[in-house]
């Protein structure tokens, strides 16, 4: 089995996520892009686990999923609160904590 297509797919997904985080303003979209990057890295981990024939990568992938689930809970809660107080989900509007 060739590893290359999976890694290429993982890289493409990661890049999309990355560009999304840097360019989009909607907090929900930024959040989804973060998830995309996490899953791109999960794909790479699982791929390498298969290639190496052991379970280390898959265990790491599970950890990432668990942490991501927790992160979603906290993140969505923050976004909800920002939306409630500011009537906007734009990350650029939430720029009060600065110099």
């Amino acid at each position: 089995m060739s590893v290359a297509p999976f890694i290429v797919l993982s890289a493409i997904l990661f890049t999309i996520g990355c560009v999304g985080v840097l360019t989009r303003r909607n907090a929900i979209v930024v959040f989804m892009c973060v998830e995309l990057m996490l899953n791109a890295s999960n794909l790479a981990l699982v791929t390498f686990a298969r290639a190496n024939g052991n379970l280390d990568g898959q265990i790491a992938a599970f950890f990432v999923m668990v942490v991501a689930a927790a992160e979603v809970v906290v993140g969505l809660a923050i976004i909800m609160n920002i939306f409630r107080t500011r009537r906007s989900a734009s990350v650029d509007d939430a720029s009060l904590l600065k110099y």
Partner: protein, 648 residues
Amino acid sequence: MNAPALMSAPLMHLPPVVDPSATSGVFSLLWLVVALPALGAVVLLLAGKRADAWAHLLGCATVAISFLISLILFFSLLGRGHGDRQVTQHLWTWFSAGHYTVNLDLLYDPLSALFLLLITGVGGIIHVYSIGYMEHDERRRRFFGYLNLFVAAMLVLVLASDYVGLFLGWEGVGLASYLLIGFWQHKPSAAAAAKKAFVINRVGDMGLFLGSALIFVTFGSTSFAAVSASSHQASSGTLTVIGLLLLLGACGKSAQFPLQTWLLDAMEGPTPVSALIHAATMVTAGVYLIVRSNFIFSLSENARTAVIVIGCITLLMGAVIGCAKDDIKKALAGSTMSQIGYMVLAAGLGPAGYAFAIFHLLTHGFFKANMFLGAGSVMHGMDDDVNMRHYGALRKAMPVTFATFAIGYLAILGVPPFAGFWSKDKIIEAAFGQNFVVGLCTLVGAGVTAFYMTRLMLMTFETSKRWEKGMHPHESPKVMTNPLKSLATLSALGGLFLVNGWITTWLTPVVGERVEHSLAVGSIGMSLIALVVVGIGVAVAWQLVGSRPVPRVAPENVSVFTRAARADLYGDAVNDEVVIKPGVAGIRGLGVFDGSVVDGIVQGLAASLTAISVKLRLVQNGFVRSYALAVLAGALIVIFAMLAVNFS
């Protein structure tokens, strides 16, 4: 060929060695002489108000008992053989470091014996007088505590057997002097005078301190015994430097030129203090130091010349200042400076003059304390007015004060047979034996002394009444006049010390054999010349003060000399110009340097850091996306760096 000539040349007189024997018998009481006044001071200063009722009695009793013990010791010493008159009492080892040990030993020899009698005797009389003088002062207990402290410190000074011990007493009397000059500290002038005395004394103390340090470096010890035994082995240069440093110490304590300015201001203190500390005892400590260090000064011609010059300058300066003062105490203070100038000069004459310096010190202690207490009695009757232009015709109002003051007056003038005649005459004689110019200085000084003392007498006790309105001068109570009477008796009889040359013989174990100089005019001729000069001084004073009315306000259109003398010969002005102004300017300069250079560097650094931070702060713009970009950039840099390391 020259060797025999060198051999036959007279050997230089080596100064006597301090070689005391341990105390025994009655001499074991020596420590009590110091301990009693010290104990008195502690009790009086710590007991608080409950001691107010009996404080003055305790203060007098401690000094009186010390005087009795001193008398007993003196007669015991008198009973001993001529070569056996030095005893030492070991109290304890003060400190030791390596080979250097300082013992707190008391040295009792003919010199300290005389000082013990003077300090406790005159000190006791002045204590009694203070009972009356300070009667209405609510802080009298504290006054007596300070007086006792002074007496204890002064006794430590003269009984120490070591320069370090002497320094302890030296500082102790300085402290007591400070406390007592500033006793009425609610007066700003008194507080300032106390501070001035303390600061100027510090300059002199530094001289004594450095002198002692150099003595330690040179001889490896600071005890009189060790130093006197080996002083002839030191190089003459070292001895001269030690001598000059000790002279600086003496100048500070004894108000000699150029450290003389504090003494006139010190008259802010209560009059008994002026009598005890600033006339009879403390200010003569410089003379004591020089005579005690005779094993240094006898071997250094140059140091002695410096001592003579200082003595000459001060004796004339003090006399001139005394001529122009209208404040009775300041006139007497100028006189004190002048008389101590005589003593310092005599001490500078070396073996020819040591004994006469001490002799004049004793007689001066009697008659000057007498006159200061007399002045205090006059002030007591005149509501503490010190301006002689407000006195006049007090002879009738205060007969006892006048009579005793007159005896002191005759004594300081050097009229036979009063004490001053014997002591001052001997100094003039010895000065002429040394050098004609020095002799002339002492002679002129005697004439000027006669002038200002006659002026003081006339303005105070004779001439017309110039009293303030509502003034009723009255004689002081017995507790004040009796001390005056006893001091007047001493002033009259002080010359007895010289009977048969007793005092010179007595002091021989300490200062060595006296060197005689015979004068062309002879001893009696010299006395006659001195008396003629004194007569001229009296006549001039009579002409200028006695024979015409004294103005109640000091005249303004006076000669430049009078103006200079009124300004203390510009002593303060010179200090201002030479020391204080450059000092202030230097400190200002340092301030500017600190403000511009030091602060400039520190603050410049801080300012540039702030400027950088202001720019750098803008990076923190609050946009999450730009933070994410920074994280990405960082991650990429790390990755590329790792790749570069791995594949290079």
